[in-house]
Point group: C2
Chain length 418, copies 2
Amino acid sequence: AGKSDLQPAERSVDFPVSVVLPAGGTGERTGLQTPKQFCSFLGRPLISYTIQAFERVSWIQSIVVVVAKENMELMTDIVQRFQHGKVRAVPGGSTRHRSICNGVLALGEEEEEEEEEEVRPEVVIIHDAVRPFVDEDFLYSIATAAKEHGAAGAVRPLVSTVIATTSDGFLDHSLERAKYRASEMPQGFTYDVIYRAYQRCSESDFEFGTECLHLALQYCGTKAKLIQGPPTLWKVTYKRDLAAAESIIKDALSRSACVITGGSARAATLADALQEAVGAHGTELDVIPDLMGENARCLLKEWNFIQLSVNRSFLSDVEAMLTVLEAANRALLHPLVVIWVHLSDSDELSVSGRAAEPAAIMDLASAAKLRNILLYGIQLHQSKDTERWERSVSRVAEITSALIRERSPALVGQLLQA
Amino acid sequence: AGKSDLQPAERSVDFPVSVVLPAGGTGERTGLQTPKQFCSFLGRPLISYTIQAFERVSWIQSIVVVVAKENMELMTDIVQRFQHGKVRAVPGGSTRHRSICNGVLALGEEEEEEEEEEVRPEVVIIHDAVRPFVDEDFLYSIATAAKEHGAAGAVRPLVSTVIATTSDGFLDHSLERAKYRASEMPQGFTYDVIYRAYQRCSESDFEFGTECLHLALQYCGTKAKLIQGPPTLWKVTYKRDLAAAESIIKDALSRSACVITGGSARAATLADALQEAVGAHGTELDVIPDLMGENARCLLKEWNFIQLSVNRSFLSDVEAMLTVLEAANRALLHPLVVIWVHLSDSDELSVSGRAAEPAAIMDLASAAKLRNILLYGIQLHQSKDTERWERSVSRVAEITSALIRERSPALVGQLLQA
Ligand SMILES: [Mg+2]
Ligand SMILES: [Mg+2]
């Protein structure tokens, strides 16, 4: 997920491609009440992550999401809230194939309200709303193979031995694993092939059919090209898969952080020590003095910010950063983490207004949380005792890594001690 | 996982059953350097969770874990550290079947050092080290079916359509999904069947065979009974599966907590408010005045403890609890969470030794962490302003739920503000 965020595509297609995302499932298998495509983690429903995987691909022109009538309003809200500009929601049919067919037909219609003219796609990619980690390279492979062969589909090696059973529930024989593959998503079709397949499709296939690839073969004589996909194509099926998906997103978001020193030499020394210590936890730190000029680009690519303050109990630097982050709409898709690290002299803490800070940072954090920015504070004391100082630095690193990794909304506004 | 922890078995078998756990895999697919069965979450390697799933079943007499020679020492350490009394580790062979065969043979040997006499098992259950969530009910089904039919194995419905490919990578045809099943683990065999199967097994099957069920059929003419297993039988294969497994364990550990009021009426009122607020986060609270007499049983079944202190900034109650928990060896298999909630009068905080507590709780937490007990503090102030008080209580609930759910070692010793 993170890779595609950071590395722009090297390859593009020169024909119009659109996407149909059937999202009508009821999610019975997750053990949750909400259909799984609408279950949220890190404050966003799964389907929005999947939509994002397509929206960030420059050569994909539009996405039709097909949802059950009772979820149309929910879907419209999601599209607006997360500003999914390439998406249109259309109501589904009574089966998976009727829903996909509705989506394909919607792609052929002109939308009168649209300002930009949308061309009827040459290739249609069909995907599952619950496979959020499809990447641009693989979409490219499917789109170009579909253009060349009329149809293309993702496959994976079988993970278990497939066995045939007798009618009374005993082992009959096992299949030779090497000859078979698991059929996965995405699949791609030229518009003509998928349109004709559904025009000719029997009622029985509309009702019970499982594979679009099979319809293309049966009704258009088109043999799909099969392409082995990466394991990330996996489908969120059970509740545990939601935890796995959340963990993948959290990994991607916690790979690096931007440290702002404010130009102070002592802060720079602390930043160097942190860089080493946090690196051991798997997070890379990019240390800069401020967010001026060139450095402002940090604000547009980072998900984590660490503001160091030396001998200043003011939160004004943090306030300024929050203002810029909010203005840039950076926290639209993922929660941002901002950690204020306050380095004080040992004697300072017993005298100065230590009671004022906790209330101030809590207020700031409560307001920021409404904008999907998670603010935490860490306090450490300068010490001339080397051992004590190193212990403090490694605790800052440990706490910082945990805050960045967990992104816990419950702990915002806390002033933690290192 | 949690269910089996709490509900004792209603059914038992009246014949000796032992287990072979092949654990020689290299874990290439997880994307991790450590073989996946040795990857840890919540401070314990995956294989120890799987071992525990068998050890807690009263009618399972022993478990032979088969590991690669280079991991024998690591495995012996794990067995000692987590006190796996039913386990013996034996070195594996060059293939999966050679390893399982070693395990089966080891079960037939007498162990001279053993004090208790171990009987040669009538039924052998074979399982994967990376499927930690197998439950007692299903093991019972496999063991009894194996006894009756000579062999039995877990199956699951196919999750994807299985397709046959042409030699040049195109769709040939798709299988009719209803006729086939995915073969999973565990599998069970009478000792005679699995022993004879390996006695007669060809070199080629030792080298390339995949299914023990198939060997039983081929070499003993035993048709295995197939039993549909629950989705929890799934195999930890990728890095994301480790996150999923951790999440399942965390869910099981965060279902309930024990609140100790110390007998104070104000603490009891707070406990009632918390009970309601935390319930909304999915955790049930069991409120007791102290840990005396009958109430001491809490210490032997809970994974989470909340100690309420009213107007006393002493940590002595917590210290006493830690001593008992350590003595009971309660944190051997899972990290325990202890949360000290300190309710103070509004004026108390500005006067009294507020600076002393953070240091005291941090020291206590650092020591407890070495014993797998995670100690956190939460401070809240009594308020006559109802709105303010309710906001504080709901923040205590939110923080408590997050601490119990996340079990973060990085945040132990912090005194959080509600
Ligand atoms: Mg299909
Ligand atoms: Mg087998």
